[in-house]
């Protein structure tokens, strides 16, 4: 279990690197989750395990990361700031390391107002920049109080950036802060405007970090419209929705669009991160189609 991060190794080798997202189950039956993991094994560099994504309560991202390790799939343990205070965060980060997890992705997290437990207290004791810094501190063998740890972590530390944010300058400032706080790789939010992403990468690619462009599988025109009205920070342009609408098999069309994006990313970016929300089996098709 121990050893280095394969994701880090792949990215540093200069090879185009693909990661994909797997969502933990809503319950303790991990059968289907493990099946998806087996499907992706050997096809991607690492699999992100989401942390109560959309603020909907699911099996722990840490537990599911360890389940992936057992299946021989390298996990990227996603950790949000929404559900844990600084004690729980440091404790879980070290726990993940002790259990063999080597990659971690720090993110703010969707507000509980979007989820299935809307009455919950939204913690946000730290924000994503501070979370990156805390993990980096643990990587250097100290906790937030500067107390020396008996055994440090050494995570390959990642964060998120939104290249299509509007306005972009505040997002860029935050991106730079995450880098200065210790982030080494970035998985971007879903890209829909590839030309804009290329411009983003012209600058971002020169920073001392690796960037994996986010690809979100659009399963149907209905889903694309849903994303536009309900998911913060996602905007699917009308031409893509029209393309889906005109197709006889919208899912196949969505896979084709994702493959096209993956092909484009391969020509200039460090890697890609595929988000196929509940359609993990399509990830293989997307990769094969590219």
């Amino acid at each position: 279990m121990a050893g280095d991060s394969n994701l880090k190794h792949e990215l540093e080798s200069g090879r185009f690197t693909v990661t994909a997202e797997i969502c933990p189950p809503r319950g303790t039956d991990v059968g289907p989750f493990i099946e998806k993991a087996r499907l992706l094994k050997g096809r991607i560099a690492a699999a992100n395990v989401t942390d109560n994504q959309r603020a909907v309560m699911r099996l722990s991202s840490l537990a599911c990361s360890v389940l992936l390790l057992r299946e021989g799939v390298e996990p990227v343990f996603q950790m949000t700031c929404r559900d844990r205070n600084r004690l729980a965060i440091q404790s879980d980060v070290m726990g993940a390391w002790a259990l063999g997890v080597r990659n971690i992705l720090a993110l703010t997290g969707d507000h509980v107002a979007f989820g299935d437990h809307r009455e919950a207290k939204a913690v946000f004791d730290l924000d994503s920049v501070q979370l990156v810094k805390v993990i980096d501190t643990l990587n250097h063998g100290r906790n937030m109080k500067n107390t020396e740890l008996r055994g440090a972590t050494d995570f390959f530390l990642g964060a998120v950036v939104a290249p299509e944010a509007n306005p972009y300058e505040p997002e860029e400032i935050k991106f730079d802060k995450k880098i200065s706080a210790g982030a080494r790789f970035f998985q971007t939010q879903a890209i829909f405007d590839m030309e804009r992403f290329k411009r983003f990468f012209e600058t971002a690619g020169k920073k001392s970090v690796k960037v994996l462009g986010g690809i979100l599988l659009l399963k149907s025109a209905k889903m694309a419209n849903y994303l536009n009205t309900n998911v913060p920070g996602v905007h699917v342009p009308q031409p893509l929705i029209d393309e889906l609408e005109g197709a006889s098999d919208q899912l196949e069309k969505g896979i084709e669009i994702a493959s096209r994006q993956l092909r484009e990313l391969k020509s200039f970016c460090h890697g890609a991160h595929i988000m196929a929300i509940g359609q993990e089996e399509s990830v293989i098709k997307i990769i094969e189609g590219a």
Binding site: V160, P170, K177, G233
Partner: protein
């Protein structure tokens, strides 16, 4: 100003069940201004209680119900207040707490309102939360827009990924607090403040319950020695 909103009458009636002499206590400051605890609201409450068979022994409004001396004066002077077997307070939680401190401990003091926030009054009837009383003001660095208060996530290092065309993901009618902070800092030529990594908030400064004693014994002793 402290903003309050009325509780549902059902819960109030339930809490006052079996009481024969209920006294109403409003507030001439905040609650009067947000139309929850002024003269008009006290009369409406009296009517509603009577219609539901609850006898009202009287009512008072003082200038500030959170000020103990004012409530105490009323308690000493008004028989109906002293003789009440329950008090229903149409004021913020601090007002309820003050009234409860003054009346005999054997009679219940019931809130008629929920206290919701400390407001900036844009103009009459338009109240916005601008300060969360966190205990350590960061407005110097954030162009006088509070990220603890105006960002639903209380983020200290810039906007989250949920900003859509500058609007907040949680309440899409609000412009993102960080987009506003960014714009104002930029206008002021102080954008460097946003580029600095802000450390996690020190929550120990807001340890509850908080208190301030202007004339605590230590300070008085200090003053004497200086003389």
């Amino acid at each position: 100003m402290i903003i309050t909103k009325p509780k549902d009458i059902k819960g109030i009636l339930e809490a006052l069940k079996g009481k024969e002499r209920v006294y109403l206590f409003g507030c001439g400051s905040c609650a009067e201004q947000c139309q929850t605890g002024g003269d008009k609201e006290l009369k409406a409450m009296e009517k509603a209680l009577r219609e539901n068979g609850v006898e009202v022994a009287g009512g008072s409004i003082v200038e500030e119900t959170c000020y103990r001396q004012l409530v105490l004066k009323e308690y000493r002077n008004v028989e109906g207040f002293r003789d009440a077997d329950a008090v229903l307070v149409l004021a913020c939680g601090a007002g309820v707490r003050t009234v409860a401190d003054v009346v005999e401990e054997d009679r219940p003091v019931i809130p008629a309102l929920d206290s919701i926030f400390l407001a900036t009054v844009e103009r009459y009837g338009r109240f916005f939360e601008g300060c969360a009383l966190c205990g350590e003001c960061v407005l110097t660095e954030t162009a006088a827009i509070c990220p603890h208060t105006e960002c639903p996530k209380g983020l200290l290092n810039g906007p989250c990924g949920g900003v859509a065309d500058g609007m907040c993901e949680v309440d899409t009618e609000n412009e993102c607090a960080w987009v506003r902070i960014y714009r104002r800092l930029k206008e002021q030529g102080r954008l460097h403040l946003m580029k600095k990594v802000s450390e996690p908030k020190d929550h120990s400064v807001g340890l509850r319950p908080r208190k301030t004693l202007l004339r605590n014994p230590a300070r008085q002793a200090d003053r004497k020695t200086k003389k």
